[in-house]
C-alpha cells in the first residue's frame, strides 16, 4: 500500500469506475439536479460582489505567501497554541496521526468520540483506525452521518451524500437508527429531526470530540470551523477534550486574513453570503468549553506536494467544492469514481500528489479524468489553475511510463511525422487514398483504440485534397 493511503483500496482506475457510475441513471439525475442548482446559486451569490476578482487575487496571494513560508508560520502557530494551553502534535502520515488520536481518546477514557466534519480525518481513515482500537467515531454532520450509517463512501467535499436522494436517506435512517420512527417520512424536516434526536444523546455523553479546521491563524493560534448545521458547535463546546486534525496547509498568517476567506468560502461553497455557524477557539479557557485541546498537524504528502513549483498551488484549496459543482466530468460520474475523499477537479490534482506513488493506478488515472474545459479554474476562489496542474501531472505520469508503451510509440511517431512537412504531406495523401474506401466521407467503425471513438461517433475521413495541396496548386506563387 502507498505510504499515504489517500485513495480507497480496491477502487478501479477512473475510466472503469466512471463507466459503472455512468450506468446508474438515478445517480446521474441526483447529481445533475444537485450540481446545477448550486451552480446557479453560486453564480448569483458571486455576482453580488463587485470586487470578486480582487478578492480571489487576495485569497491567492495570502495562501501563496503562507505556503512560501510555511515552516515559519507553523512554528508561530505551535508557539501560540502552546502558550494558550493547547498541545501541538506533528504527524508525518496517516498512521502517526491516527495513533495520536487513539492514544488521546484512550487517555480520556472514551470509547466513543463525536466528530465534526473533517476532510483530513477522512483522508487518513481515522474512523476505521479508531474502530480497530475499540473506539467508535460518530459523525455529526448530517451528510457525513448518512454516509457513515449507509456504510458508504463520501462523493462530494461539502455534501458527502450528494449522490443520495431523500428516499434513499429515509431508508438508511430506518434501517440504521434504532430510535427512528417507523413512519419516518422523506421530508427534509423529518429526516433532520430524526438525526437531531439520534445525535443529541451522543453530544451530551461524549467526552472527546474530533474536529477538522477550515483555518488556523498563525499569530494567535486560533482555529476556525465554519458549518451550516450547528452540530459542529456542539462538538466544539460540550466535550472535555477537543482534538483537531488539520492539514499543515490550512493556516493563514493573521486574523485579518480571515476577512478575505470568510467572503470567498461561503459564496463559493453554499452560495450564501455568510455561513450560519462560524466557531473559533484559542487554546483552552478554564471553566469554559473543552479543558484539553490537542492540535494535530498532518503532513501526509503535503511537504512533497509543496516541493513541486507547479503542483503546490493545489495546497491553496479551501475545500469550497465550487470546482466539483461546475465540472462536467464530476456531474456525470459522481465523486466515488475518483476513489478518494477528494473528488472532482481538485481531487484529480490533489490526490495523486498526496499519494505520491506512481504505482497507485487509481491515483495515476486521475489527471487524465478531465476534458480540460477550464470551468474549474474559472470558479476557484483562490485561483488554482487546475488545468495547468492536470497537464503538469500528465507529463509526470508519462515520464513514469515506458517509452515503449503503445501510446508513447504512437505519440512519438506522430511527432516525428509532424516535425517534417514532407512526411506530413505524405501521411495526408495516404489518408486521402484510404478515404476512398469510405465513400460517405466518414467511418463508423475503427479498429482499437479508434473504436473507443467510433463507439458513439462517426469519424470524418481526410479530404481528397488537403488545404496545403490546394494552396500549392492555386496559390503557391505567393509563398516561398
Amino acid at each position: 500500500m502507498a505510504r499515504n493511503p489517500v485513495t480507497w483500496m480496491g477502487v478501479p482506475t477512473f475510466p472503469k469506475a466512471a463507466q459503472e457510475a455512468l450506468g446508474d441513471s438515478q445517480l446521474r439525475s441526483n447529481l445533475r439536479h444537485a450540481t446545477h442548482t448550486i451552480r446557479d446559486k453560486r453564480a448569483a451569490a458571486v455576482g453580488e460582489v463587485p470586487d470578486w476578482e480582487r478578492l480571489r487575487r487576495a485569497g491567492e496571494a495570502i495562501k501563496d505567501e503562507t505556503l512560501a513560508h510555511l515552516d515559519t508560520y507553523l512554528q508561530k502557530l505551535e508557539a501560540a497554541v502552546t502558550s494558550r494551553g493547547g498541545v501541538v502534535h506533528w504527524a508525518r502520515d496517516a498512521a502517526e496521526a491516527n495513533a495520536i488520536v487513539l492514544k488521546l481518546a484512550r487517555a480520556a477514557g472514551a470509547d466513543e468520540v463525536v466528530k465534526v466534519k473533517s476532510m483530513a480525518t477522512a483522508e487518513i481513515g481515522l474512523n476505521e483506525a479508531l474502530e480497530e482500537g475499540g473506539v467508535t467515531a460518530i459523525e455529526t454532520d448530517l451528510a457525513e452521518l448518512i454516509v457513515q450509517l449507509g456504510n458508504d463512501r463520501p462523493s462530494h467535499i461539502l455534501v458527502p451524500a450528494i449522490h443520495r436522494n431523500r428516499s434513499e436517506v429515509r431508508e438508511i435512517f430506518r434501517n440504521q437508527m434504532p430510535e427512528a420512527p417507523a413512519d419516518l417520512s422523506s421530508e427534509p424536516k423529518a429526516l433532520a429531526e430524526a438525526a437531531r434526536r439520534h445525535l443529541r444523546k451522543k453530544f451530551l455523553s461524549a467526552k472527546v470530540a474530533v474536529s477538522g479546521a477550515n483555518f488556523a491563524v498563525a499569530d494567535t493560534g486560533s482555529i476556525m470551523v465554519v458549518e451550516s448545521e450547528g452540530n459542529g458547535r456542539m462538538c466544539l463546546t460540550l466535550p472535555q477534550t477537543l482534538i483537531t486534525v488539520m492539514g499543515i496547509e490550512k493556516l493563514v498568517p493573521t486574523s485579518r486574513d480571515l476577512e478575505v476567506f470568510l467572503q470567498l468560502l461561503p459564496r463559493s461553497s453554499t452560495a450564501e453570503r455568510m455561513n450560519p455557524y462560524t466557531s473559533m477557539w484559542t487554546g483552552v479557557t478554564p471553566g469554559d468549553g473543552p479543558q484539553e485541546f490537542h492540535l494535530i498537524l498532518l503532513d501526509n504528502g503535503r511537504t512533497a506536494t509543496l516541493s513541486d513549483p507547479v503542483g503546490r498551488q493545489a495546497l491553496r484549496c479551501i475545500r469550497c467544492s465550487a470546482c466539483l459543482n461546475v465540472c462536467p466530468v464530476y456531474e456525470r460520474t459522481g465523486g466515488q469514481s475518483y476513489g478518494s475523499v477528494y473528488p472532482g477537479p481538485i481531487g484529480a490534482i490533489l490526490t495523486p500528489q498526496l499519494v505520491d506513488d506512481p504505482h497507485d493506478k487509481q491515483a495515476a488515472s486521475l489527471p487524465f479524468a478531465s476534458s480540460l474545459c477550464g470551468a474549474c479554474f474559472e470558479v476557484c476562489p483562490v485561483r488554482i489553475d487546475i488545468p495547468e496542474v492536470l497537464t503538469h501531472l500528465r507529463a509526470r505520469a508519462v515520464a513514469e511510463k515506458s517509452k515503449m508503451s503503445p501510446e508513447a510509440l504512437a505519440m512519438s511517431a506522430m511527432a516525428t511525422m509532424f516535425a517534417d512537412p514532407r512526411k506530413y504531406a505524405l501521411a495526408q495523401r495516404a489518408g486521402a487514398a484510404a478515404a476512398k474506401l469510405a465513400p460517405s466521407g466518414s467511418v463508423s467503425r475503427l479498429p482499437f483504440p479508434g473504436s473507443r471513438w467510433t463507439a458513439t461517433r462517426d469519424m470524418p475521413m481526410p479530404a481528397t485534397e488537403s488545404f496545403r495541396t490546394w494552396w500549392k496548386t492555386n496559390r503557391k506563387d505567393s509563398d516561398e
Binding site: 466512471a18 477550464g374 470551468a375 458513439t456 503557391k476
Partner: protein, 257 residues
C-alpha cells in the same frame, strides 16, 4: 520575406495587411474548406494572406496528453515557421490558446509568437475592426462557444457579433451553451464513456434548438459533436464559423454539400 513588425494584439493595422494563416493540422487535413474560407474572407477584407507551407501541427495534443518534449519540439518548429509575420491567424480557439497560453511556458519557445497569435474572431473584431463581414447565410444556426475560446482566450461575444451581422441568418441561442462537449483531445478516447455522456447532453441541447447548422470556432469540437450527430442521423450539419462568414450571396455555402 519582409522584416518582422511586432505589434500588440490590440493595435490596428493598415489596410492590405499581410497575414499568415495557421490552418491547424486538423483543418488542413480533414476540413480544408474551412482554411479556404479563411483565405476568402480575409482577402475580401483587404488582407494579403500567406500560408507558410512548412507549418504542420502546434503540438497541443502532445502537450495535453503529457508528451512535453514532443510538444516543445513541434512548438519550436511553429515558432520558426511564423517568424517575421505581424499577425498569425488560426481558425481554432484551442490551437490559438496553445500558442498564446502554453508556448511561453515551454522551454526555449518564448512569447514572441504568442503576442502575434489571433483566433479568427479576435482578428476580425479587434484587429480589422469589423463585425459585418458581408456574409449571407440563410439558415437556422446555433453557436457553441468552445471551452478554449471561451475560457483560455476569452473571445466572449465576438463570434456572436459576427454571426448576428450575417444576412439571412436565423441565429438561435444554444441552451447550456457553455457546457463542454466532451471532446478534450485524447480524453475522448481515454475516458470514452464519460466523453460520450457529455456529448449526448450537448447533442440534446443542439437538437432542442431546431437548428439546421451548429457552428463553432473550432473544427475539433465540431468533429466530436458532428460525429455524434451524424451517428444518430440527426441531419444537423456542423460548420465552422469561417465557412459561414465566407458565404456570400454570389458564392453561398450549400449546406447539403
Amino acid at each position: 520575406m519582409t522584416t518582422a513588425q511586432h505589434e500588440s494584439p490590440t493595435s490596428r493595422p493598415a489596410a492590405g495587411m499581410r497575414v499568415a494563416l495557421m490552418a491547424t493540422c486538423l483543418t488542413d487535413t480533414l476540413y480544408p474548406h474551412t482554411a479556404r474560407a479563411v483565405v476568402t474572407l480575409l482577402e475580401r477584407l483587404g488582407c494579403t494572406v500567406e500560408f507558410p507551407l512548412s507549418q504542420t501541427c502546434c503540438g497541443q495534443m502532445h502537450f495535453n496528453t503529457g508528451y512535453r518534449d514532443d510538444a516543445t519540439r513541434l512548438a519550436s518548429r511553429m515558432n520558426e515557421v511564423f517568424d517575421g509575420y505581424t499577425a498569425v491567424v488560426a481558425p481554432s480557439g484551442s490551437c490559438a490558446a496553445m500558442v498564446r497560453d502554453i508556448y511561453p511556458k515551454l522551454p526555449g519557445v518564448g512569447e514572441d509568437l504568442a503576442h502575434r497569435m489571433y483566433e479568427l474572431s479576435e482578428f476580425l473584431v479587434d484587429v480589422l475592426g469589423v463585425t459585418d463581414v458581408g456574409a449571407y447565410f440563410p439558415h437556422r444556426v446555433t453557436y457553441h462557444p468552445t471551452c478554449h475560446s471561451l475560457r483560455m482566450l476569452g473571445v466572449g461575444e465576438r463570434p456572436l457579433q459576427l454571426l448576428r451581422a450575417v444576412r439571412g441568418i436565423d441565429l438561435i441561442e444554444l441552451p447550456a451553451a457553455e457546457s463542454c462537449c466532451g471532446f478534450g483531445g485524447t480524453f475522448a478516447v481515454k475516458n470514452a464513456e464519460t466523453s460520450s455522456a457529455m456529448l449526448s447532453d450537448k447533442m440534446r441541447c443542439v437538437l432542442n434548438t431546431g437548428a439546421e447548422v451548429l457552428t463553432a470556432g473550432d473544427n475539433s469540437c465540431l468533429m466530436h459533436i458532428g460525429g455524434g450527430l451524424s451517428r444518430l442521423r440527426t441531419g444537423v450539419h456542423t460548420l465552422h464559423l469561417a465557412d459561414i462568414l465566407a458565404s456570400t450571396e454570389e458564392d453561398p455555402w450549400h449546406v447539403t454539400q
